[in-house]
């Protein structure tokens, strides 16, 4: 029986982890993700899980220990935010290139500086090329549901890659909202036992993890990694379908909201999608044909499917909660625009940078973006495609 509850995003993810009962959880605290290992450590102390919880001295060590545990054959994960993720940087690539299906509960927070504890996506966006699967959440429910699905995706034999389950710092991590939890056995059965094929503690098959690859082998190793990423798209869909049978909640690569006949649309990631849906509804009531696409799977990037979903749109605004310092926009903007180009799409596309360091985004702000898109369609000219939302200049 599913249970109606009210929880913060951090509590929700911690409960998902209790239900998963991973083998190893090394952790080092950093705001706003600290509560995840904090809640989890009480589950350990109360004997509700039999996880080996390892308090370490830094994020470099927490990711290293997670990698070591995963290479040994354990189901392992850690949690972090912002500078903690930055401090894991070299290890992120090690995890991915060793094809270790570990997980990271990431609570998105701005990178320094100026030093700031609030939400933006600069931490995970910076790690977008590290070879990790990245999945984002709009609210606590999605953060929980994504965490439940994480290991199934990462451990799939066609994938075998690390996975980052992202949610917005404070906005969802510290906000108490309604949520529906699955019961423990349902999650346990859904996630199943981890049976690694190749692992260090297997006495029948000795192996090395992370050896030097000379030039003659390195490129094939990277090509193989890319193959795992390619398979991840279908696996994410398959696992989501199975998850729907136990939860009644349906997920895809992205969510299309009122896109049926939309003439203008925004593409957005994370908690601001909820705010933007209210803007879409308000404008729809006035007869405006507007819609929204919320990215769930960001790495690998569902370029073809996204271009397909945007094929009838006249103008689109791509919303980035991170700077790219390219002088022409942020990372999501680059990905969506390249997807549109590959599909020979005709839509005007503009890219907004918004919400940095927790800058609030309101329903009215998003309505303003749609107003701009309407003007672009009327003018037949996108004008400046690299824009800022809600900044004082």
């Amino acid at each position: 029986m599913a249970k109606r509850e009210r929880l913060s995003g951090n509590e929700a993810v911690a409960i998902a982890l209790r239900q998963i009962n991973p083998d190893v959880f090394p952790a080092f605290p950093i705001t706003p993700s600290t509560e995840i290992p904090q809640y989890f450590s009480t589950f350990v102390a109360n004997g509700q899980v039999d996880t080996e919880f390892i308090p370490v001295e830094s994020e470099h060590s927490s990711m290293s220990a997670t990698i070591g545990a995963s290479a040994a054959g354990a189901r392992a994960l850690t949690a972090t935010s912002s500078c903690g993720l930055a401090y894991m940087w070299e290890e992120l690539y090690i995890a991915a290139s060793n094809r270790l299906p570990l997980a990271l509960a990431l609570v998105n927070r701005a990178l320094s500086g100026p030093i700031n504890i609030n939400c933006d996506h600069s931490d995970s966006m910076g790690a977008r090329d590290a070879g990790w699967i990245q999945i984002y959440a709009e609210n606590n429910q999605e953060a929980y549901d994504n965490m439940v699905q994480a290991f199934r995706i990462a451990e799939h034999k066609d994938v075998r890659l690390p996975i980052m389950i992202c949610q917005d710092g404070f906005i969802t991590s510290h906000a108490v909202e309604n949520i529906e939890l699955l019961d423990d056995d349902t999650v346990k059965n859904f996630v199943g036992e981890y049976e690694p094929e190749n692992y260090l503690l297997n006495p029948k098959e000795t192996m090395a993890v992370g050896p030097y690859a000379i030039t003659d082998y390195y490129m094939e190793a990277k090509r193989n990694q890319a193959e795992g990423m390619k398979h991840a798209v279908d696996v994410v869909k398959v696992i989501a379908k199975e998850f729907a049978t136990i939860s009644g909640r349906e997920y895809g690569l992205f969510e299309e909201y009122r896109m049926e006949d939309a003439e203008t649309a925004i593409v957005i990631i994370g908690s601001a999608a909820g705010t933007a849906k209210d803007a879409v509804d308000a404008l729809r009531e006035k007869g405006e044909k507007v819609g929204l696409i919320k990215i769930r799977l960001y790495r690998p990037f569902p370029a073809d499917e996204l271009a397909q979903a945007l094929q009838n749109v006249k103008a689109v605004a791509i919303m980035d909660r991170a700077e790219g310092y390219t002088n022409h926009g942020g990372p999501l903007g680059a990905d969506v625009m390249s997807a549109l180009y590959r599909a020979k799409a005709q839509a005007f596309a503009v890219n907004y940078i918004y919400g940095l360091g927790g800058r609030d985004v309101r329903v009215e702000d998003i309505e303003g973006v749609f107003e701009t898109l309407k003007q672009i369609v009327a003018d037949g000219d996108a004008g400046e495609t690299y824009r800022y939302l809600g900044v004082r200049e």
């Binding site: 504890i117 906000a175 108490v176």
Partner: protein
């Protein structure tokens, strides 16, 4: 969205404004509502001004922005009246609740001409009388539930008692004091 209630809390770090907002979300959830309770942090230090928010609705809440035009404002620390524009955006059909030992007449001049209803409560008095220590959030929670008419008094007290039993399972001796604080606050708010 006509049944949406929005509340903004102004306090200082360490006074429990965030906890009060979370408790309010909790108790409203118990009566079958959709809820949000969330903090907005500035610098992370004791004594710095913090804001916390509540949305309570019969419908699912998707918006994730702060609250700019609340129906209700709760001021946990009256020294904020001088430094924070606590009535900013506050609807005049709504109300402000201030924790103070002063009279309503003394407080009103500090509210920048706010035209709506003004309520006061001396949470310090209530807290010291019932719990022997200063925890302003418990009396303020009861007071705002009454002022905003969020639920029946009886339902509120019943739900809070069960919530305290859960929250204070390891120190049940504080439950009676907290319950007394809620009841006294409902009488004292004016």
């Amino acid at each position: 969205m006509s049944n949406l209630t929005e509340i903004r809390w102004h306090g200082r770090g360490g006074q429990g404004a965030k906890t009060a907002a979370l408790l309010l979300a909790d108790v409203a959830f118990q009566t079958g509502k959709y809820v949000q309770g969330f903090p907005e942090y500035g610098p992370e230090r004791m004594g710095a001004p913090i804001t916390a928010y509540n949305r309570i609705s019969d419908k699912q809440i998707r918006v994730h922005s702060n609250i700019y035009d609340p129906q209700y404002v709760v001021v946990v620390d009256e020294s904020l009246l001088e430094t924070v524009d606590v009535t900013k955006g506050l609807k005049k059909e709504g109300a402000i609740l201030v924790n103070t030992h002063r009279t309503k007449e003394e407080i009103i001049p500090h509210l920048k001409g706010y035209e709506g209803k003004v309520y006061i409560i001396d949470a310090h008095k209530v807290s010291m009388a019932t719990m022997g220590k200063y925890f302003p959030n418990t009396p303020l929670l009861a007071a705002i539930v009454k002022v905003a008419g969020i639920m029946e008094e009886e339902t509120f007290l019943r739900e809070m008692e069960s919530s305290f039993k859960h929250k204070f399972a390891s120190k049940p001796e504080v439950i009676d004091g907290n319950m007394a604080a809620l009841k006294m606050a409902m009488q004292e708010v004016q």
